[in-house]
C-alpha cells in the first residue's frame, strides 16, 4: 500500500527514463564497449599483452607506491584527525578546512608544485637532495604525490567517529586505573580501526588510478618510475590499442574488486559505530 502513496508524485517516468538514458549513454556503453573490445582479443594474446616485463614493472610500482602512500596516510591521517578533534590550538579551524585541499586542487597543479618543491633547487629539495633524499624523478616522488592525493580520505572517515566517541568509556577506564596509553590501545584503538581501514582502502583505490600528479614528478622512466596508467598512455601514443586495452582492463578489474571490498568495509564500519 505504501507504493500507492508514492504514486501521487508525478514525473517518475520522465526522470527515471532520463536517468537510465544518460547513465547508459555515458557510463554503461563506454565501459561495455571496452569490455566487448577486450573479448575480441584472444586469451593468450591478452595474457601476453597484460604481463609484458614493462607492464609487470609498472604494476609493481603502481601497487607498491599506492600501498606505501595509503599506509602513510593511515598513520598521519589518524594522527591529524586525532589532533583536529581532540585538541585546541591556533590555526586548528584553518587546517581542518585545508584538509580537503588535495581534493579541490587539480592533480596537474599538485604534480607541478610537488615536483618543484622536491627538485634539487626547490624549497625542500635544497635540504633533502644533499642528504640523499631525491623526491623528484624517483619512485619516492611517486609515493609523495600519491600521499598528497590520498590525504583527505583517512582524516575525513575518522573525524566523525572521533567526534561521536563516548568520552565516558575513557573516563571509566581512567577511573579503573588504566594509564592513558593503555586506554588508547585497549579502548580507543579498536573503535578507530574500522574507519581507518576504510580510509586506507579509499586512499589506496584513489592512488591506483592516479595519473595527473605522477606525470610531473616521476619522470616516466620505463621499468623505473613508470606507473600503469602512464604505460596505457604510452601504448595509445604508439597506436597499440590492444596493449592499452589489456592494461586498462587489468586496472578496471582491480578497481571494481576494490570498490566491492570498500562497500563491505563501510558496512562493517557503520555497524561498529551503531553497535
Amino acid at each position: 500500500m505504501a507504493e500507492k502513496k508514492f504514486n501521487a508524485l508525478p514525473g517518475f517516468g520522465l526522470t527515471m527514463g532520463f536517468t537510465l538514458f544518460y547513465l547508459s549513454a555515458l557510463v554503461i556503453i563506454p565501459i561495455g564497449g571496452l569490455v566487448v573490445r577486450t573479448l575480441g582479443i584472444s586469451w593468450s594474446e591478452f595474457w601476453h599483452l597484460a604481463t609484458t616485463e614493462r607492464a609487470l614493472a609498472a604494476y609493481k610500482l603502481t601497487f607498491g607506491a599506492s600501498l606505501v602512500a595509503a599506509l602513510a596516510n593511515a598513520i598521519f591521517g589518524t594522527l591529524l584527525a586525532w589532533v583536529l578533534t581532540r585538541y585546541d590550538f591556533p590555526g586548528r579551524r584553518f587546517i581542518d578546512a585545508m584538509v580537503d585541499f588535495p581534493f579541490a586542487l587539480p592533480t596537474a597543479v599538485a604534480g607541478l608544485t610537488l615536483a618543484n618543491l622536491f627538485a634539487a633547487n626547490g624549497w625542500l629539495g635544497k635540504w633533502l637532495v644533499p642528504m640523499g633524499i631525491k623526491g623528484a624523478f624517483t619512485p619516492l616522488g611517486v609515493m609523495i604525490a600519491l600521499t598528497f592525493v590520498g590525504m583527505p580520505f583517512v582524516v575525513r572517515t575518522l573525524q566523525p567517529v572521533l567526534e561521536n566517541f563516548e568520552r565516558e568509556v575513557e573516563e571509566a577506564a581512567a577511573t579503573l586505573g588504566a594509564g592513558r596509553l593503555r586506554t588508547f590501545v585497549t579502548i580507543i584503538a579498536p573503535t578507530l580501526l574500522p574507519p581507518v581501514i576504510t580510509g586506507f582502502a579509499l586512499a589506496f583505490a584513489r592512488a591506483i588510478g592516479e595519473y595527473g600528479s605522477i606525470v610531473f614528478i616521476s619522470g616516466n622512466l620505463p621499468f623505473k618510475t613508470e606507473i600503469a596508467p602512464q604505460l596505457i598512455v604510452m601504448r595509445l601514443e604508439e597506436y597499440d590499442y590492444a596493449g592499452a586495452i589489456a592494461l586498462a582492463v587489468v586496472l578496471l578489474i582491480f578497481s571494481f574488486a576494490l570498490l566491492a571490498v570498500i562497500n563491505v568495509l563501510e558496512q562493517w564500519a557503520s555497524k561498529f559505530i551503531k553497535g
Binding site: 507504493e3 502513496k5 508514492f6 501521487a8 508524485l9 508525478p10 514525473g11 517518475f12 526522470t15 532520463f18 536517468t19 547513465l23 555515458l26 557510463v27 556503453i29 563506454p30 565501459i31 564497449g33 571496452l34 598521519f76 594522527l79 591529524l80 589532533v83 585538541y87 590555526g91 587546517i95 584538509v99 580537503d100 585541499f101 588535495p102 579541490a104 586542487l105 587539480p106 592533480t107 596537474a108 597543479v109 607541478l112 608544485t113 610537488l114 618543484n116 624549497w123 600521499t147 590525504m151 568520552r167 573516563e171 581512567a174 592513558r180 592516479e210 595519473y211 595527473g212 606525470v215 610531473f216 596508467p229 596505457i232 595509445l236 590499442y241 592499452a244 586495452i245 586498462a248 578497481s255
Partner: protein
Amino acid sequence: MAGIAKQKLGAGYAKSQRGTEESPLAKWTLITIAMLFCLVFLLLPLANVFVQALSKGWSVYVQSLTHPDSWAAIKLTLLVAAIAVPLNVIFGLAASWAIAKFEFRGKALLITLIDLPFSVSPVVAGLMFVVLFGLQGYLGSWLQEHDIKIIFAVPGIVLATVFITFPFVARELIPIMQATGTDQEQAALTLGANGWQTFWHVTLPSVKWGLVYGIILCNARAMGEFGAVSVVSGHITGETDTMPLRVEKLYNEYQGEAAFAIASLLALLALVTLGIKTYLEWRQHREYELAQQSAAAESSDTFLESKSKNE
C-alpha cells in the same frame, strides 16, 4: 533553565577530565608532528604555486596568462565546464528525484552504477571514449565518413569530463532528498500545484544548498581534470589544450613560470571552491544546531505545559 544547569555541570566536568587527557608534552608533540605533515603536504605546495608563478614579477605573470595559446586554454576550460556541469546538474536532479521520491527494484544497483565513474582511473575513462569514437574504434570510420570529429576535438573533451564528474551532483542530492521525504510535495499537490510548480517551489528550495555544494565540487573537478582529457584531447596547441594540459606542455617546454602562472589560476579556483564548501558546511552545522536547540526548547515547553496542567 535546563541549559544553564547543564553548563554549570559542564564546567565542573571539564576540570575533572585529567584522567582522560594526554600530558601537555605528549599533546604538543602530537600537534607538532601533525602540523609538520600539513606543512609539507598542504601549505608548502600551495604557497609554492604562487611564489613560483610570481617569481619573475607581475608583468611576466600577466604576459604568461595573456599569451594567445594560454588564453585559448583558459577559454576552452571555461567552455567545457559550462557544458559538462549543467548536464550533470540536470542528470543529478532527475536521478535524485526518481531515486529519493519513488520506490522501485534495483535502487541500490542504480546508485552503485551512478557512483561507478569515481572508481575508474581517469586514463581508463579516456580510453573508453577512444575505443568508442577513435579512428580504430567502433564508430571511427562512420564518423570519419561524415566528417564528425569527437576524439582529438572538443566533443571528446566534454564527454570525458562529463564521465569523470558524473556522480558529483547526484550523490549530494540523493541523501538530502531521501531525508526530506515526500510529505511537503504531497501537500503541495493536494493544494493544487502541478508537478513543475511543486518541483520549483517546494523541492528545489529544500535542496538548494546541497545543489550548490554538488555544483562547486563538480565544477572544480571539471576544470581541473587531467588524465581523461589528456587521452582524448590530442594536445593541439591553441585548439584542444585545456588549462591543466597547457600546464603540462609548458612544464615540458621548460617554461616554469608560465606553467606556474596557469597553475596559480587553478589553485585559486581550488581555494575558492574550498572556501564556499567550508561556508556551506558551517551553515549546515549551524542550522542543525539551531534545529536541535529549538527542538530542545519545544520539548521543555511541553514539559512545562504538562507540568502546569498537572498542577
